[in-house]
């Protein structure tokens, strides 16, 4: 037993120690309160956001792409609905029994059943829809609809696929869509301040974007804006209820200037020959016809080709993927002659009275080299107008001989050569307007006078795409007042190219038009065969692109044994005269005669355009 004194000190000792512990915990409690305070008050907004992010899940909603129309309001590219059978798994316990019941009227393949069984448990856990069957036939839909009261958890959902109604006609102009790659998707989403998330797809093929043509160039307008659906979720990611819906904004429809009837005519006339047709409305530079041949089915590309089909297209010698209209490089050949003639007038080298003697060839004074015309014996005494109508080479050889290449280049550049003439074409080639510097860099040779002489007849180094030739044609038709080309012309924004020259008068332009009308209408015209194919007046200039230079007709007969060495047929034209509305260029590879091979195609397309107006 302890005595009273000790008891007293024990009591004090006990109190001290108890207080000590209480104070110790008191301090800790203060820290605890401070910690709670900092969580709940100081950092409240951070944690509020974290809590909100925890319980919400965002879904992207894929927008519907815009529809692409031709200039008459005909649909070219549409969104074709397909129907999928969708299961809401939330209240389904026995998936096999459900499959068994469905299988009685809609046949599910073993692979489909296996797939459903694989994905079902997880989909049920997370409360995500299960696709039971894709692309239902109308019969299957009907069979389901009469029984749907028995399947409250199943519904038919609409999904789209991108469909070109004329899969071969617009392959190169409208182009096609394909799967969006991850990087591009991120770019699109971040432009909308969105993040990559689970997506509610509108298209059965998933994310789409334009790969070529108008689908590519106008992708931003066509694609629309992604929408957002916000769900409340629990910790396991299971969807509980929809909280918010920001609907996707469908893409803008694109009303192109393309003209379906003329497009059909051009495609049929080309008939799978290698070549291209480009026609424009010269009032605003809008492209109405744009065909590269041979073609391919864009729908197959967009919806998945087999490897075999793909290899076949890729390995085809005729290169169906190649867009000849925008990327094919062809010498303009004799079609360039009106431009060269105008240069002569602009530089006061000649006037419409000026004549030369055409013996059928031109001898380059520097080295005595002979440049031949197409007609043996030549055209005799000939002026500019007849030189265009009869396509005298000698006349333009000697005219070009009197020019400086740099001046000639500057002149031809106005006509669209060597530059991009289209606002919204897909990957257009600029062709080639050669210069001495270009020749030195590329061929390591200086520029010869003979090179300039060759440019005078559109041969040699110069080449142009069918779009550029169509532009050149439109430039002649409008007397040098033409908009930059576009598939979707908005004349307010159009980039007008107005050609000014003190020396070239309206009369000069009229004479050029008259000469080009003569190419068809004059008895001596090189394209006289076209006269009977139409009942209005067309101005034209044909050309024959020599791929191999030959001295005589006999030599050419040997050359043409190989199809790939035959001359390209080429023609530019505009109509109806005297107030032209359309300009056109036609190239047919290895078609040999501009007037009689490319010509009928051009006339047929112009017929379609002029008659349908």
């Amino acid at each position: 037993m302890i005595d009273l004194n000790e008891r007293f000190s024990e009591k004090r000792n006990f109190f001290n120690r108890l207080i000590f512990v209480y104070v110790f915990f008191g301090v800790l409690f203060l820290y605890l309160i401070y910690k709670t305070f900092s969580l709940q008050i100081s950092s409240y907004s951070d944690y509020e956001i974290a809590s909100l992010e925890n319980k919400t899940r965002e879904f992207l909603v894929q927008p519907r792409r815009g529809i692409i129309y031709d200039r008459n309001g005909e649909i070219i590219v549409n969104n074709k609905p397909s129907y999928n059978m969708i299961l809401d798994p939330e209240n389904v316990d026995d998936i096999n029994e459900l499959i068994f019941e469905i299988n009685k009227f809609v046949n599910l393949s073993d692979a489909e059943i296996k797939n459903i069984n694989n994905i079902f448990p997880n989909k049920k856990k997370l409360n995500r829809e299960v696709v039971l069957k894709r692309n239902l036939t109308t019969e299957e839909i009907a069979k389901f609809e009469v029984r749907n009261y028995r399947f409250p958890n199943i519904q038919i959902a609409e999904r789209y696929s991108r469909e070109n109604l004329y899969p071969f006609l617009f392959s190169h102009s409208v182009g096609y869509v394909g799967n969006l790659d991850e990087e591009k998707l991120q770019e699109i989403l971040s432009s909308q301040n969105l993040e990559s998330n689970e997506t509610i797809f509108t298209y059965s093929n998933g994310f789409l974007n334009g790969k070529t043509g108008i689908e590519y160039v106008y992708d931003e307008q066509l694609r629309g804006l992604f929408g957002k659906k916000i769900y409340e979720v629990d910790a396991s990611g299971r969807l509980l209820q929809e909280k918010q819906m920001i609907p996707a904004v469908a893409g803008e429809d694109i009303f192109t200037s393309l003209d379906l009837p003329s497009q059909k005519v051009a495609y049929d006339e080309l008939n799978n020959r290698r070549g291209a047709v480009v026609a424009v409305d010269i009032n605003d530079g809008s492209i109405v016809t744009y065909v590269s041949s041979p073609s391919f089915s864009v729908n197959k590309i967009a919806n998945g080709l087999t490897q075999n089909e793909f290899d076949e297209l890729i390995n085809d010698d005729d290169k169906p993927f190649f867009d000849r209209a925008a990327q094919g490089r062809y010498s303009p050949a004799s079609t360039i002659k009106p431009a060269i003639g105008l240069f002569g007038i602009d530089k006061d080298i000649l006037d419409w009275e000026y004549t030369i003697q055409d013996p059928g060839f031109f001898i380059l004074p520097e080295d005595g080299r002979i440049y031949r015309g197409w007609k043996k014996g030549g055209h005799g005494e000939i002026n500019l107008k007849d030189a265009i109508i009869e396509s005298s080479n000698t006349f333009f050889f000697s005219l070009a001989y009197q020019t400086e290449i740099e001046e000639l280049r500057a002149h031809l550049s106005n006509f669209g050569f060597g530059k991009n003439v289209c606002d919204d074409c897909f990957m257009p080639d600029n062709g080639l307007l050669p210069s001495p510097r270009w020749k030195m860099n590329t061929h390591n040779f200086g520029w010869f006078k003979g090179d300039t002489v060759n440019v005078g007849v559109g041969q040699g180094y110069i080449n142009a795409t069918p779009i550029q030739l169509a532009y050149y044609s439109a430039f002649l038709a409008t007397k040098g007042n033409i908009n930059k080309f576009s598939f979707v012309q908005d004349s307010k924004n159009a980039n007008k190219n107005i050609f000014n020259s003190k020396n070239i008068t309206n009369m000069d332009w009229d004479n050029i038009h008259e000469s080009m009308v003569g190419v068809i209408e004059s008895p001596k015209g090189t394209a006289g065969r076209l006269r009977s194919l139409k009942d209005y007046v067309i101005a034209a200039k044909s050309g024959t692109v020599e791929l191999v230079s030959t001295e005589t007709k006999e030599d050419y007969q040997i050359i043409r044994e190989t199809e790939g060495k035959r001359d390209h047929a080429i023609i530019i034209a505009f109509a109806p005269m005297p107030n032209p509305k359309y300009a056109i260029s036609v190239v047919i590879e290895n078609g040999e005669s501009g007037g009689s091979v490319a010509g009928p195609v051009a006339v047929a397309v112009l017929n379609s355009l002029v008659k349908n107006d």
């Binding site: 006990f14 915990f25 309160i33 709670t36 969580l39 950092s43 944690y47 974290a50 809590s51």
Partner: protein, 366 residues
């Protein structure tokens, strides 16, 4: 009816401050638990039964004279040890741990009883020992504590064993353990920390400690609980999201909402204001205990009140520190709030004993 009021005063031992505040806490606990259990009626009925039974038990336990506890403390300790041993061999295994004894009506977590029995026994053992406690008594006590702690630890039940250890050490400390001994043993303990880390902690326990230091290192793995708890508390803000409106709790982001993390649910739904109200009730109980300890009739009562109130304080503190991320996650309920009958009953008993110690002094004076 001679004097009914006096009769009650003389024959019934009750501390109204503690009784009312604990009853209030218990009722609040039921309200919180209803939300934390996502409106599970069965849980609430069961818990209500424990609360009513517990309050009754607390009343019963506070009636005997402290001498009754002093004289029988060894029997109580041996009885509870037997229960633990029985659990060890015949207990119900849940998640690899044998902590529960199936009593038909409910399952008893037997280690919870030791939590109370040990401090009472130690107080009874040490109350008449001269000051400072000599080395022999210190060691005897320590060995006993460590034996019992280890018995619970291997169940395994880290949380409860920790509380038992703390409760035992409090009594030793309050009884007058020499400061020199405290200094030396703390030094040894700190030096042996790496050894304990390597040899006594399970990998998951080490992970919990590491997680505490940097919960963001693995927010979806071991840091999940702490991260989600902090989000729940933080997003409660000043006023809370409203009763049963806590998304963290109701959408399953928060783990163990009915037991360990019930404070997070309260903080989420009632905000900082709710937290302050709850903590002030705890604080009131603790300060009342402090007063009662000062006022106790003898050393045994002082030690017991002090030890049991510190046991309560530590449990509350460990639970709160855990959910706000100050200390690692250990299984520790919030007294009178969390679901779980055994822990609830043990605290009712503890407070029953405290009330008995505090109220019987008057009789002595007579």
């Amino acid at each position: 009816m001679i004097n009914f009021k006096n009769f009650i005063k003389d024959k019934i031992y009750i501390d109204l401050y503690l009784f009312i505040s604990i009853t209030l806490l218990s009722i609040m606990g039921l309200v919180f638990l209803y939300s934390a259990s996502q409106g599970n009626i069965e849980t609430i009925i069961k818990q209500s039964f424990f609360v009513i039974f517990g309050l009754f038990l607390m009343f019963i336990v506070s009636q005997p004279d402290p001498d009754f506890y002093k004289n029988n403390s060894a029997i109580f300790l041996i009885f509870s040890l037997v229960l633990v041993l029985v659990t060890f061999f015949f207990g119900k295994e849940v998640n690899g741990a044998r902590r529960w004894l199936d009593l038909g009506l409910f399952t008893l977590q037997t280690s919870e009883i030791i939590k109370v029995a040990l401090p009472v026994f130690l107080a009874a053992y040490l109350y008449d020992k001269p000051l400072p406690i000599n080395l022999f008594n210190t060691f005897t006590t320590l060995v006993l504590i460590l034996l019992i702690v280890n018995l619970v630890r291997i169940q395994p039940d880290l949380g409860t064993s920790l509380v038992i250890l703390i409760a035992g050490l409090y009594i030793l400390f309050l009884a007058g353990l020499s400061w020199r001994f405290i200094g030396i043993s703390s030094g040894i303990f700190i030096l042996s920390l790496p050894f304990i880390w390597n040899n006594f902690l399970e990998p998951f326990q080490r992970q919990r400690i590491l997680t505490l230091l940097d919960p963001n290192a693995d927010p979806f793995g071991s840091g999940w609980n702490i991260t989600q708890s902090k989000i729940a508390i933080g997003s409660g803000g000043l006023q809370g999201k409203g009763y049963q409106m806590g998304s963290q709790a109701h959408l399953d982001f928060l783990p163990e909402t009915e037991t360990d993390f019930i404070f997070s649910v309260i903080a989420e739904e009632f905000g900082f204001i709710g937290v302050c109200i709850l903590l002030s009730i705890f604080l009131f109980i603790l300060l009342r205990c402090l007063y009662l300890a000062f006022d106790a009739r003898d050393r045994f009562c002082r030690l017991t009140i002090g030890g049991l109130s510190l046991l309560f304080l530590s449990t509350v503190f460990i639970n709160l520190s855990m959910v706000v991320g100050i200390i690692p996650v250990v299984g520790m309920p919030l007294p009178f709030i969390s679901k779980g009958g055994s822990s609830l009953l043990s605290f009712y008993i503890a407070f029953g004993i405290i009330i008995s110690m505090a109220t019987h002094k008057k009789l002595m004076q007579k």
